[in-house]
Point group: C2
Chain length 187, copies 2
């Protein structure tokens, strides 16, 4: 593996992700990479739900109504901006974590969410290796009951973020990354 | 990047990780990869603490005493087994997540822990690319006050797991990974 690939992968805003998105074969390879994530107890405590083009309108409505739920005084411009976010990036999927429940008490939540992070990074690196850009998006709508209802999340599931993938229109300069002395110490 | 590298990385038990471990330069490259993780809000909400050989004894004591705290009837054999875990793998480090606090209310915990997962996967893939094996370990001692005290964790910090890195003595057959149809659906 070219280690430069890990170092050059950066977040791309969905606004700058356009067609073409990944082919079904490319997408399959991304999910195959995700499946190689560390997974204590082999629970696969996460899943991805794709929002295909024909269903973007449903998500747009959830984004708009979740905004109005939070802020009944939202302006039409704000509501339209919320709606518009559902139409960005040719490939859009929701990343969902399955948390501890009575039915599945093993393995604490932090380890489940770390496993999801590992799966996502494998997926993002694979997309990057194929020449695609990707970005993660979230926001207050993630916790709304409307979002949970649209994706029919189980009581033990948590909507973590959206994964956006596509062709990059405009590359921005990379951001400065922390250096090891900022996050590594020795006992 | 050879995508096969992502697919072939697997967990190796610390029992099967021996010298040599990574050189300082190799370790630096691993941390540089970790630094490329997605990080909403650029908080670097995680850190790693290396346990050098000279300090393994302190960790062994914490493992043993944390066991006795949980189970005052632990046998000497069990206590010795707990102690012994501190001496495995030439490179041993604790992965720590920094959670939401009054001082840092932005970005929910799931996104912080996902960022740590991404950082860890970048680090593990880099170790794998260099020919090292790696494994993640955790257990009930992670939450003990003795562990928190040894690593001087802040009130907002959570000890997630240990990262073990070294040379693999014996390769085991890879485990069966989930297939995409088991964790991907479409809206």
């Amino acid at each position: 593996m070219s280690l430069a690939l890990i170092g050059t992968r950066m977040n791309v805003s969905p606004k700058r992700l356009i067609d073409p998105g990944p082919s079904p074969e490319q997408l399959e390879a991304m999910f195959s990479s995700a499946a190689a994530a560390p997974d204590h107890g082999q629970l696969t405590p996460w899943r991805f739900m794709i929002v295909p083009p024909a269903k973007r309108g449903l998500l747009a409505e959830v984004f708009a109504l979740a905004l109005i739920d939070r802020d009944p005084g939202a302006t039409l411009v704000q509501i339209e901006a919320a709606r518009e976010k559902a139409y960005r990036a040719p490939m859009l999927m929701l990343a969902v974590a399955r948390l501890v429940s009575d039915q599945e008490p093993e393995i604490p939540n932090v380890e489940r969410i770390v496993s999801l992070g590992c799966a996502m990074q494998n997926l993002l690196l694979t997309a990057h290796a194929m020449g695609f850009g990707s970005g993660l998006t979230s926001g207050q709508a993630m916790c709304s009951e409307r979002m949970r209802g649209l994706f029919r999340l189980g009581a033990d599931e948590h909507a973590v973020c959206f994964v956006n993938i596509g062709t990059v229109t405009k590359i921005k300069p990379p951001r400065v990354r922390p250096t090891a002395d900022q996050f590594v110490t020795s006992l």
